[in-house]
């Protein structure tokens, strides 16, 4: 293994305070944004996939369009909105973790919505007909649909989390990569790369991968337990 691995191990072993801060900001950001996106995307996706209502087609098109928005454009829009001269300046959210989470929610929710919609469309028929046949209420039917979607909810969360933790375009714009505050793994990697320190960038990248791996393993174990 190359020296990048050595450097990554050294970085972690040394318990570098700035690295720990970057890790904790990264975790806070990606865990929250993927969770919020999940809470929005799952019901929305199930609704779009399982129900027929006026405006559904339009919403689907809108969702697919939002899926294609480049993160940096999303970041730019938020930057302009929340800038010191922007219309939402009084909220004082620019360069905070909160707005990074918000921008990521906007990026990730369409992804999760689409993910859930595809799944719900497949299973909605039998789930709904059977529930209707038993005279179950709409709410109970929705809960059943949710319960049937355990597996895609887990994979959806992983999808959102992976996207959140790996995303750089939007968070660097709205977060500003401020040390000790809004600097996350990806923006730190970008900074090191810009400084020409590729090996430190790769070392951070390795840590990111390992984190992602750990998260994936933990969730697949949990998924096995819950989804069986």
């Amino acid at each position: 293994m190359g020296s990048a691995v050595e450097q990554a191990v050294q970085l972690i072993a040394s318990g570098d305070r700035e690295l720990l801060n970057i890790l904790s900001v990264t975790a806070r950001m990606s865990l929250s944004s993927s969770l919020i996106a999940l809470l929005l995307g799952v019901p929305l996706g199930l609704l779009l996939g399982a129900c027929r209502f006026p405006g559904r087609g339009l919403l689907l098109v809108l969702n697919r369009t939002l899926m294609g928005v480049p993160p940096v454009v999303c970041g730019l829009i938020f930057y302009i909105l929340f800038s010191g001269v922007g219309p939402l300046r009084h909220l004082h959210l620019l360069f905070t973790v909160e707005i990074m989470i918000l921008a990521q929610v906007v990026l990730i929710t369409p992804l999760l919505t689409s993910h859930m919609e595809t799944y719900a469309a497949q299973i909605a028929g039998p789930v709904r007909e059977t529930a209707k046949g038993l005279g179950l209420s709409r709410w109970k039917t929705f809960l059943l649909l949710l319960n049937e979607s355990r597996y895609p909810i887990f994979s959806g969360y992983l999808l959102g989390f992976s996207r959140a933790i790996a995303e750089v375009g939007a968070v660097s714009m709205v977060g500003g990569a401020i040390a000790w505050k809004t600097n996350v793994m990806t923006t730190a990697i970008m900074q090191y790369t810009n400084r020409g320190n590729f090996s430190l960038g790769i070392a951070l990248g390795l840590i990111l991968l390992v984190l992602s791996l750990g998260m994936n393993l933990a969730l697949s174990l949990l998924q096995r337990k819950v989804a069986s």
Partner: protein
């Protein structure tokens, strides 16, 4: 269980591949003494003589020359690199993205005052002037002889004034000066300084968007434009909006063999002319930074090189517009055996770290 194993296997493969990249990057940098075949350098060929030299933890052979890039031209009057601070005026003619006037922009004036005053304390200026001696054996910044100083009181932070947004250039940030000075300020008075770093152009733009309380940059023309547009204010005890206090020199670097004969040029302008004449590779920041602005002013006028990509379309065989940070450009120049204009502080840290930036 099988699935899990497959997952682990797949990921370790990815890790291995990435680690492989890392090693290659590392070995590629130091082996560029012979610049002719950098492109075709293979990891197996180069690992022997460079094993371990790529990272900074090998203290034993760190004396070995691993960076070929050397300073060829410096301390020329036209290469003066002056750093100035400017406090943002809350009454400035701010406009939003559509060009409509915006009046109630929040600017932490008290915080900006405190930070500027602190940076101008004689003790702080001393710290700045000596910065780098320990780590690099060379100071990175000089204090301007006519720099204003501040002797008054500095108020402690309050809830309203606590957070100070400083927009600065990558060169200041990458030199490590701010991470050396600011914690002392923060500890003494309870402020938190949020540093955003970008090229001077972007750093000033951030302030115009109402996202900074003060700026610390190094491009006189862009600074004056900022002041003239009404974005600046004069802080207590100063005479001008633009407070210049530190300087160092831009340096023209290139391969030690110096094929363009830059060393023997009478002036920096002649040196640039010689590079253009012989079409020797040159790496430009190309990102609207202070260094980029300075570089543009040093080319012979008849070439007509500006920040507009059209203007150097005919020179792309030797002129590379990188649109990247100083460190990344230095790595590029080192690998291509090209010439480059850089601030001295960044260059010294680059060399001290064997061709990488910390």
């Amino acid at each position: 269980m099988k699935k899990l194993l497959a997952l682990v296997l797949a990921l370790s493969t990815v890790l291995g591949l990435l680690a492989g990249c890392g090693a290659k990057e590392n070995t590629a940098q130091p082996t560029t003494e012979d610049t002719a075949n950098t492109e075709t350098n293979d990891a197996p060929e180069t690992t022997d003589d460079t094993a371990g030299t790529g990272t900074e933890e090998t203290t034993d052979d760190s004396s070995a020359v691993v960076v070929d890039l050397t300073i060829l031209k410096e301390a020329d009057e036209s290469m003066l690199n002056t750093y100035s601070m400017i406090a943002v005026n809350p009454e400035a003619p701010f406009t939003d993205a559509d060009g409509n006037a915006v009046s109630d922009v929040t600017v932490n004036t008290a915080g900006a005052d405190a930070l500027m005053h602190w940076l101008l304390l004689p003790e702080t200026l001393d710290l700045a002037a000596n910065y780098g001696m320990e780590e690099y054996g060379n100071t990175l910044f000089y204090v301007l002889e006519d720099a204003p100083t501040y002797e008054g009181e500095i108020p402690a932070a309050t809830d309203e004034t606590k957070t100070i947004r400083l927009s600065t250039t990558t060169s200041v940030n990458d030199s490590g000066l701010l991470s050396y000075l600011l914690p002392q300020f923060e500890e003494a008075y309870g402020y938190t300084v949020e540093v955003q770093s970008a090229g001077t152009g972007k750093a000033i733009e951030a302030a115009k968007f109402g996202n900074a309380d003060l700026i610390l940059v190094h491009s006189k023309s862009q600074e004056e434009e900022f002041v003239n547009a009404g974005f600046a204010r004069v802080i207590d005890g100063m005479e001008t909006e633009r407070v210049s206090f530190l300087y160092n020199y831009f340096v023209l670097c290139g391969p030690s063999a110096d094929p363009a004969g830059v060393k023997d040029a009478a002036t920096v302008l002649d040196a640039f002319a010689a590079i253009a004449e012989g079409k020797y590779p040159f790496i430009s920041r190309g990102d609207g930074s202070g260094t980029h602005t300075k570089e543009l002013s040093l080319w012979p006028a008849e070439l007509g090189i500006t920040e507009d990509p059209e203007s150097f379309a005919d020179y792309t065989d030797w002129y590379t517009s990188a649109n990247a940070g100083m460190g990344a450009c230095l790595v590029m120049a080192e690998e291509m055996g090209g010439y480059i204009l850089t601030d001295k502080a960044t260059f010294l840290t680059f060399v001290a770290n064997n061709g990488v930036m910390e």
